[in-house]
């Protein structure tokens, strides 16, 4: 009997196909399912704000800080603007800032990480030293300083957040690329005479992609968080309505003392939800990607004892 024909029955061993890894994780981890649902709902509300928001963004529809009512489910803000409308548009700006800043930081962090990890040697040393410097510089104060100097605008905020958040991405990606680079199949490709571009794009990047995605999602959370902080410090763009700006407006007009808790509670809840969504999705992806989390030799739960009837394989 030929060996090969038998091999068809060979069992899948270890390892797993990384194709569709992200989708698979999103579907099979409860945390990721919850997180993704939150994000999709918020994103839908934000994207469709133009069409489904109940009122125009800048229209005063009632008295300042009017109570929640049937017409305005979440009440009105300090300009007499409908909170539901504000939250939709605010989420839109916050998400745009979050994603755009993340894109900037991913581009920098991804490039630095791949270059440092792949080429190693002095390239690695130089890039990692730079990364280390950025890593110890306190982000938010630096953002404050730069935003204060450049002046408040959405574009500046995106750039400022983007150019300060890339460090952790660079480190994570570098570590991963370094390990991929040491994988035998990359060595084999090198021994075959494959060029750097080919190796990076066909072997390294696809392998790093899920981690990059996980990192992106987590960075979005940080970027949105930072945006609310900058807005709160009065460094936000006054001509746009981000969630941070909505909180800051309410805070400036003493919403709490005015008894208008809805003007400050809801935007905060929404920010929390978005960040929570990102953290859940990103965290689940990271957890799924970390092989060291798969086994635990110690836990509160132990193996179970089963009664046994019969012998050997008959015993079930």
């Amino acid at each position: 009997m030929s060996e090969a024909s038998l091999l068809i029955e060979a069992p899948p061993e270890g390892g797993q196909n990384r194709r569709g890894f992200v989708l698979h994780t999103l579907r099979h981890r409860p945390a990721a399912v919850i997180g993704a649902t939150i994000l999709v709902l918020v994103a839908l509300g934000a994207i469709l704000a133009q069409w489904i928001a109940p009122y125009p963004l800048h229209q005063q529809v009632g008295p300042v800080f009017a109570h929640p009512s049937w017409h305005h489910l979440l009440g009105l803000d300090d300009g007499g603007i409908d909170m539901v409308t504000l939250l939709m548009w605010g989420a839109r700006v916050s998400l745009v800032v979050g994603f755009a800043a993340t894109l900037v930081s991913m581009a920098i962090g991804g490039a630095v990480g791949v270059l440092a990890g792949y080429f190693g040697g002095w390239v690695d040393t130089v890039l990692m030293r730079i990364t280390d410097y950025f890593l110890v510089l306190p982000d938010v104060p630096l953002m404050i300083v730069v935003a204060a100097i450049w002046g408040p605008s959405l574009f500046h905020i995106i750039i400022v957040i983007g150019i300060l958040l890339w460090t952790s991405t660079a480190r994570v990606i570098r570590a991963q690329v370094k390990s991929v680079r040491e994988r035998v199949y990359v060595k084999r490709a090198r021994a075959l005479g494959a060029g750097h571009t080919r190796i990076v794009f066909t072997h390294v990047l696809p392998q790093v992609a899920p981690l990059l995605i996980a990192n992106t999602v987590l960075t979005v959370a940080v970027a949105i968080f930072d945006e609310t902080a900058l807005s709160f410090l009065g460094l936000g763009d006054p001509s746009t309505t981000s969630l941070g700006k909505v909180i800051e407006n309410a805070f400036q007009r003493a919403a709490i003392s005015a008894g208008a808790w809805w003007a400050i509670v809801w935007p905060g809840v929404l920010v929390t939800l978005i960040i929570l969504g990102c953290s859940l999705v990103g965290g689940a992806l990271e957890d799924a990607l970390n092989p060291r989390l798969r086994v635990a030799h110690l836990g509160a739960r132990t193996f179970r004892l089963r009664p046994l009837v019969g012998r050997g394989q008959d015993a079930l």
Partner: protein, 547 residues
């Protein structure tokens, strides 16, 4: 973590839990009690050559001798000076000062201290004392022939009300303290921190001061004037209105200097006395009036300015932004400034979009694409510089922007921090070429001189933010300083207001109220246009007392 630390933690936790049960307790009260006032701005510096904030000047009012003060009707009343007269055709002023006054360290306080302060300020007015230079303008020098006589010499005839207006804001410093800190060319005057406890001579002694936090004043029992009824006055600074109002509600504060309009209703409901007084702060819409302006010269056209003025819905601004706690403005000198300086004949421009459109149509500025008018071949689309630290402006801008769209004028927000905003408006070398429109606010003083000065040509490179420069106006300005009688001065001041009303370097938006809140446990607490803690006189804190 070391074991020692772990042992200390329960202690720490216990201390924290213990702490929660022990709040709000204890004023170490003597008979008069402690009056605790909350403020959002606070004292920026205790050095008069550095201080900028109103709270600082209010503090000086209570701790330093000042020649004159305002009475309840905002007329001049004796303070450290008991009487005054002009001579030498109005060029020399002689003040009689209090006898037997003492500084808080026991050293005698005499007219010599006043003369020294004035001479020092004149000497270094282009350097270290620039901050107060405006208050000693036209002064040649001062002398103290004896302990109770101060003679001040001017370079020309000066108007009496102007002179007293200047001295009302002028703190006399103890020579024996400050003379030690002159330093090189007086530079030491600015760097002297003047930290608490301060040697002063007012109804209160400043005994404790923490920047951005607290200023504590103790009653000065050796004070030569009417004694306060309270023992201690505290001014606590909050960076957060909510925290401040919460503290007031929890009776950690007795009063709040300036409460946000949004909380007036809830505070009244909670049983606090909310005093709503017409204030001196006005927000304005600035039109670059530089006669040498290069771009968008249509903005120099008085008709255009008039049209803009009619397109501003001030009532809406007042209801949305100020929740009603503001007045319709009409002049550079707000009505509450008192003593008749405000020109009552000036009326707030009406909100009339149709009229505004008619004026612009008449000028031939046709609407182009997007409904935006075209003037001199250029779209009437302007950036409006808005300083980010004036909290009411973004909302106000939104309202104006929407209405201006209806008259075919596009406004775009250019939010900058105040330094950057001012820099951009002044442009390089103070040429005022780089901006068209802006928004800001001014806080008027009781005496009209300062407000009227900001639109003089001489203020280019100084306070000017509209670049208004007009020979005729400048002439009137110097005339009011030297007018022989108060009535004559008032007449000129009214003329100047009317002239500005017509030339519109500023379109006045709202004149917001000064709203304070005080606990019902206190009596004799009054609010003024400058707020309860003010630089007008010492009446509020000397009359406030426990019920």
């Amino acid at each position: 973590m070391s074991k020692k630390w772990l042992a200390a933690l329960p202690l720490l936790v216990a201390a924290l839990i213990f702490a929660t049960t022990a709040t709000g307790s204890g004023s170490s009260s003597k008979s008069g009690g402690t009056f605790k006032l909350g403020t959002a701005s606070g004292i920026d510096s205790l050095n008069p050559y550095v201080a900028f904030n109103q709270d600082a000047y209010s503090a000086f009012e209570y701790i330093y001798p000042i020649l004159v003060q305002y009475d309840a009707k905002l007329h001049y009343a004796p303070f450290f000076a008991t009487s005054w007269k002009a001579s030498n055709g109005g060029k020399t002023w002689t003040f009689k000062t209090r006898a037997h006054a003492k500084w808080s360290d026991g050293k005698p306080l005499t007219a010599a201290d006043a003369a020294w302060t004035i001479n020092t300020d004149v000497k270094y007015k282009n350097g270290a004392t620039a901050n107060v230079a405006g208050l000693v303008s036209h002064i040649k020098g001062a002398k103290a022939p004896n302990a109770t006589t101060l003679v001040v010499n001017y370079d020309g005839r000066v108007n009496p009300s102007w002179v007293l207006g200047q001295f009302q804001q002028y703190a006399i410093l103890p020579q024996h303290i400050w003379a030690q800190h002159l330093g090189k060319k007086g530079a030491g005057l600015k760097t002297f921190p003047n930290s608490a406890p301060i040697v002063g001579s007012g109804p209160f002694n400043l005994v404790r001061f923490k920047q951005n936090d607290i200023a504590l004043f103790q009653r000065n029992d050796s004070y030569w004037g009417p004694k306060p009824k309270i023992d201690v006055f505290g001014l606590q600074q909050f960076s957060n209105d909510d925290a401040m109002i919460t503290a007031l509600k929890a009776h950690d504060l007795d009063a709040v200097e300036s409460v946000p309009a949004t909380t007036m209703k809830t505070l009244r409901k909670a049983g606090f006395v909310v005093q709503d007084v017409k204030g001196l702060d006005q927000t304005d819409f600035i039109i670059n009036s530089n006669p040498k302006k290069k771009k968008h010269r249509e903005l120099l056209n008085l008709k255009v300015k008039e049209a803009f003025d009619h397109a501003i819905d001030r009532k809406k601004i007042i209801s949305v932004v100020y929740l009603g706690a503001a007045q319709l403005p009409s002049s550079i000198i707000p009505a509450p400034a008192g003593a008749g300086w405000h020109n009552p004949h000036l009326k707030t421009p009406t909100f009339d979009i149709a009229l505004a459109n008619k004026i612009l149509d008449k000028l031939g500025y046709k609407k182009g694409p997007g409904g935006i008018r075209v003037a001199n071949g250029k779209k009437m689309s302007y950036d409006v510089i808005i300083p980010t630290d004036v909290q009411s402006l973004p909302r106000t801008f939104q309202i104006i922007q929407a209405d201006f769209a209806k008259i075919g004028v596009q406004l775009k927000e250019d939010a900058l921090d105040s330094t950057a905003a001012f820099d951009k408006m002044a442009g390089s070398n103070y040429t005022y070429q780089g901006f068209d429109l802006a928004m800001w606010d001014w806080t008027a003083l009781i005496d009209p001189d300062f407000m009227l000065s900001v639109v003089t040509c001489a203020q280019w490179g100084g306070w000017s933010d509209s670049a208004f420069c007009d020979k005729h106006y400048d002439k009137m300005y110097s005339q009011q300083q030297t007018a022989a009688t108060p009535a004559k001065r008032r007449q000129i001041v009214w003329q100047m207001q009317a002239y500005l009303y017509q030339h519109r370097p500023y379109l006045w938006l709202a004149n917001d109220d000064q709203v304070s809140a005080v606990s019902k446990n206190w009596a004799g607490f009054t609010n003024t246009a400058q707020g309860p803690f003010n630089e007008l006189n010492i009446s509020v804190l000397t009359s406030v007392h426990q019920k």
